[in-house]
Symmetry: C2
Subunit: 288 residues, 2 copies
């Protein structure tokens, strides 16, 4: 597989994703609803990290793609529930109708439920992993999924309940809501080969990347219109972001600092090939 | 622990459940919402099966209670999502307000999400299990949770979409929606000690029990008023149950047959102590 850039990776990855849903045995309505959201767009950034770091420790393409599919299903499922009327109440996502608008709320809730558990089934069925390594990977999938829910809950409480939040509270919320799954994506390949200490360190770096990613996202939401982003930006108007505490320029500096820290940490680990690619997609992160 | 009858078991089990939620570290709003539903009532029938079968293969009380807590959290989480406005739209459950009425829909959705994954964390943290056995138990937790979602989806589709369903479709839906988690409860202790073949057989017997259990539930819903059951029975009015295909007496016979089959199969496996207890709670099943 050509891994030189994100677009080419996405094209190749999406073929595997389509094949995955063609082949999997599951109840048809759940498959239709879940695959709709997993397949509709997305940059495949999380699987891209898994693939690139996985190549550094020589995991096979096949296994890396499977774990990539697992993480993309997990991510998409969180978006399905985030978009529900009781949460962000979004009608569009990635330029298409959100899951509950397209299939009805009951199917969106159950498709999300299914999509939180399915990734764990995929991980359990990886055949070429040592049982100890599979166990550690499963443990991180479980714990990062729980952290993501905690981050989402914090996000909703900050938004809906009129409580005073500090910069640290917001960064902690970002670390959980967005960081946990990037932490998982950065570290999964290392756990797959039993490099657990390195995996833990990569997990931390991934969380920092997730925080930068989330702040770039906030900055774009502030700048761009609904049309350009393909989602309902105005729905986030009561969300607590760093922009409630700092001005645009200051927030940009915070994001840059997290991003630079990630680059520095990865260089220290000698993952210069990945750093080069990461620098190459910086414009995508800031304007997606 | 005295395991002679369900009420005494429940009293003891609930002490452990309260302690579990006191000690667990999780985001406070999620803990409040999830523990509310897990703690509010319930006969603790699923943990009771785990405990009783677990004693047959000499698993420690401590481990059985942990797995029991995991299964009860899983079960309660499915009820939290089932009760949501887009699904069964129930306002009362077990005589108290449903989760979303009490805490708001956004918290109920996230508490349920969290409660589907938390059981897996509990299983992963069982210390006295061989890694191979833990892996098998985790696999069954994952697969039965997915089956439960499939059953719930079928149930909703049967109810909301005007399609013709046969008796077999309804029984298949019951096997998934209710049977899967009883299958898990009957078999978990055997997987914990590596008795996998016996575990698979017990899993099948548990599914049959779940079908009987679900049919008894339908019959009671038909007979009793909301006041007596502590939940909104009329909400189920469009549900497809066996009562759409057979008369009351015929349905009762189907339930009895499944129940008798379970008793016979358990007697064949020489679990006469459990059979005795199971016969002792028959009146509870039919009038809970």
């Amino acid at each position: 597989m050509d891994d030189n850039n994100l677009d080419e990776f996405k094209k190749e990855f999406d073929k595997h994703l389509i094949k995955f849903f063609e082949e999997i045995e599951m109840e048809e309505s759940l498959k239709e609803a879940l695959s709709y959201s997993v397949r509709s767009g997305g940059k495949r950034l999380r699987p891209w990290f898994i693939y690139n770091f996985g190549k550094e420790v020589r995991v096979s393409d096949e296994e890396l793609i499977k774990v990539g599919i697992a993480i993309e299903i997990l991510h998409s499922s969180s978006l399905i529930h985030d978009d529900l009327p009781a949460l962000d109440n979004a009608h569009y996502r990635r330029g298409v109708l959100t899951n509950h608008i397209r299939f009805g709320e009951h199917k969106a809730i159950l498709a999300g439920d299914y999509g939180f558990i399915l990734p764990l089934k995929i991980v359990m069925e990886l055949n070429n992993l040592k049982i100890e390594n599979k166990m550690v990977l499963t443990k991180y999938f479980i714990e990062d999924t729980l952290k993501m829910f905690e981050g989402e809950m914090k996000d909703l409480i900050f938004e809906k309940e009129d409580i005073e939040v500090e910069i640290e509270d917001i960064l902690d919320m970002y670390a959980k809501k967005t960081g946990a799954i990037f932490g998982l994506s950065f570290s999964a390949p290392f756990f797959m080969v039993g490099e657990n200490l390195l995996g833990e360190r990569m997990h931390e770096i991934g969380i920092d990347f997730g925080i930068a990613f989330q702040i770039f996202d906030d900055l774009k939401d502030r700048l761009k219109s609904q049309e350009e982003l393909g989602k309902d930006t105005r729905k986030d108007i009561n969300k607590k972001t760093l922009l409630n505490k700092l001005n645009f320029k200051e927030v940009k500096i915070v994001a840059d600092n997290y991003y630079e820290k990630v680059i520095k940490d990865l260089n220290q680990k000698s993952y210069s090939a990945v750093v080069k690619k990461l620098l190459g997609i910086r414009n995508i992160l800031e304007s997606r």
